[in-house]
């Protein structure tokens, strides 16, 4: 069954982690979804590259944080926050492509 990430996550957000990095948090609704996402490797490096159309080198880290049922990844910003050509100083609206993520769900 195809499912959208919004059925499994209660928070999907992006924000600067300092002016040079952009960090994304996907907080799953519960432990069950967290374990499902981790065991099925739903949000891995390849998937992130595909969603954002970026090269793997731009991904600094992907971290699993069980106490928050969260998957977190951090990428290099397109440009330093506030540099000429900036579109999102706080980086708070770069999460949007994640909202379209779909995955195959099997009970």
């Amino acid at each position: 069954m195809r499912k959208n990430i919004r059925e499994a996550a209660r928070v999907i957000r992006s924000k600067n982690a300092g002016p040079f990095e952009l960090t994304f948090d996907i907080i799953l609704s519960n432990e069950k979804w967290y374990d499902y996402f981790i065991s099925h490797d739903i949000l891995n490096r390849e998937k992130i590259c595909e969603i954002f159309k970026i090269k793997s080198e731009r991904i600094l880290s992907i971290v699993h944080f069980k106490s928050a049922n969260a998957i977190k990844f951090t990428i290099k910003r397109e440009r330093v926050s506030g540099a000429p050509g900036e579109t999102d100083i706080y980086g708070a609206q770069q999460h949007a492509p994640l909202l379209a993520l779909e995955f195959e769900y099997t009970e």
Partner: protein, 458 residues
């Protein structure tokens, strides 16, 4: 050392000037806090505020928040510690905040001992450290050159707990610090009294955002942190909010790249063995966080330099023919402007922010244009020049060229843009960039690097 006692910290708001409900603050005072602390700063609003020396928060609301803090603190003899004064925490921000404090003291007839700790670092200190290889860039940050240092209009360092402790040890009732590591204002006093630095700093890390870490979250409400010998408790001060293990743990992720290791002045906060426990419906107890001191302690430097002047023009289009061909039209307008620029020797850069296409994500936008089916587009013409006049000129000619550009298949020949405002163009002033975001190896005691000025306010 600490036995079974507890140390209560009242955090009124996420950023000084964001406001808080009076009732929440009263509830906090009724819990007899041992400290009122607030962080006033962030690099989030971008390099402008550090570069220009202005606050990103509004004076009237900073004064409003400070009135509550100072009256409560002075009357009840609760120390008040404020970090990253004025947002970016350079001396101009610090003096701005100091002036507000002195104004309140006069109006409210408050007497207290004020400690002021500037966070500015002199250029010659940075240049000398750079020459001796004592400066290293943070991840993805450029290598520092002497020009970056010389051209910076302000350079600050994020102080840790030691300079604040020095001010408190000197008997200051109110401490106003320049740029500070966010958790430091919450942790300085309890660590001085013998509480565990790992727990105190982790508690500070959460309290610095006040009720953002509760649910429903808010940046404008008060919370209480209760530090004990081997754990700390988060307690909301508004009955409509709760702390849950998820909300507290989720906040630990916020704005960091690695939630297990949080580097700061003098060491790293290690959360590998951290436990979050729900105590009751609204309180969470956290334990297991450790502070691991660094062998080579360093502090973070932040600097900004002027790069240009900016002008903008805001407009929109509703024409489906123009919308369909927007990329080609913008490219052709660019070519025409480039010719004018080289012919008439105009310096500068032009950016078109096209909302409805990729205005929010820019080059990062993965959705192909055309699949959005926007019936209208918002267009912001942004121009940068070496002076304001030059940026204005470039903005004006770009606006008029796009307005009347005869693109292919055009039917509406009266004008291509809808302007909501007259004047259509605005001069936005100076543009800064982060020129320094580097680690400086500490060669002296941190408290000596940030000396405190003590003033008796009567």
């Amino acid at each position: 050392m600490v036995e079974s006692k507890e140390f209560r910290v009242l955090s009124p708001t996420a950023i000084l000037g964001y406001g808080f409900p009076e009732a929440s603050f009263e509830r906090g005072l009724n819990r007899n806090p041992n400290l009122i602390a607030v962080d006033a700063g962030s690099t989030d609003p971008g390099p402008y505020y550090l570069g220009i020396g202005k606050s990103f928060t509004d004076r009237a609301f900073v004064k409003r928040d400070l009135q509550y803090l100072l009256k409560a603190g002075v009357e009840r003899k609760i120390p008040v510690v404020i970090g990253s004064a004025g947002g970016a925490g350079a001396s101009s921000h610090l003096r701005w905040c100091q002036e507000i404090i002195e104004e309140i003291a006069t109006e409210e007839k408050l007497s207290f001992k004020l400690g002021i700790i500037p966070a500015d670092v002199e250029k010659k200190t940075v240049l000398s450290a750079l020459a001796r290889n004592k400066i290293s860039p943070l991840k993805y940050v450029h290598e520092l050159t002497p020009d970056h240092v010389k051209e910076s209009t302000a350079i600050v360092a994020q102080m840790g707990i030691e300079p604040l402790q020095q001010a408190l040890a000197e008997g200051c009732d109110v401490v106003l610090a320049g740029r500070s590591y966010d958790p430091a204002v919450f942790a300085a006093l309890p660590v001085m009294l013998g509480y565990d630095p790992g727990l105190a700093l982790h508690m500070g890390k959460i309290l610095e955002c006040a009720a953002i870490a509760s649910t429903p979250g808010s940046g404008a409400d008060c919370v209480l942190g209760i530090l004990q010998s081997d754990s700390f408790i988060l307690e909301p001060l508004n009955p409509k909010r709760r702390f849950t293990t998820e909300s507290a743990a989720a906040h630990t992720l916020y704005e960091k790249d690695d939630p297990y290791h949080l580097p700061g002045p003098g060491g790293v906060l290690d959360l590998t063995d951290c436990k979050f426990k729900q105590l009751d419906s609204s309180r969470v107890e956290i334990s297991g966080t450790r502070f691991v001191p660094s062998k080579k302690p360093n502090i973070k430097l932040e600097g900004a330099r002027l790069v240009a002047y900016r002008s903008i023009s805001i407009a929109g289009t509703r024409d489906s023919i123009m919308i369909k061909n927007i990329d080609k039209i913008i490219e052709e307008v660019r070519e025409q402007i480039d010719e004018m620029m080289s012919r008439d020797k105009i310096d500068g850069d032009i950016y078109f922010h096209i909302y409805g296409k990729n205005g929010v994500m820019g080059e990062m936008e993965p959705l192909e244009f055309g699949r959005t089916r926007s019936h209208e587009l918002g267009i912001i013409i942004e121009t940068l020049g070496p002076t304001q006049d030059k940026a204005d000129t470039l903005c004006s000619i770009t606006r008029s060229t796009l307005l009347h550009y005869g693109y292919e298949n055009r039917i509406a020949t009266a004008g291509n843009l809808a302007f909501p405002f007259s004047p259509s163009d605005s001069s936005l002033g100076k543009v800064f960039e982060f020129s320094i975001y580097h680690l400086l190896e500490l060669e002296e005691n941190e408290a000596r690097m940030f000396p405190c000025e003590v003033r008796e306010i009567n």
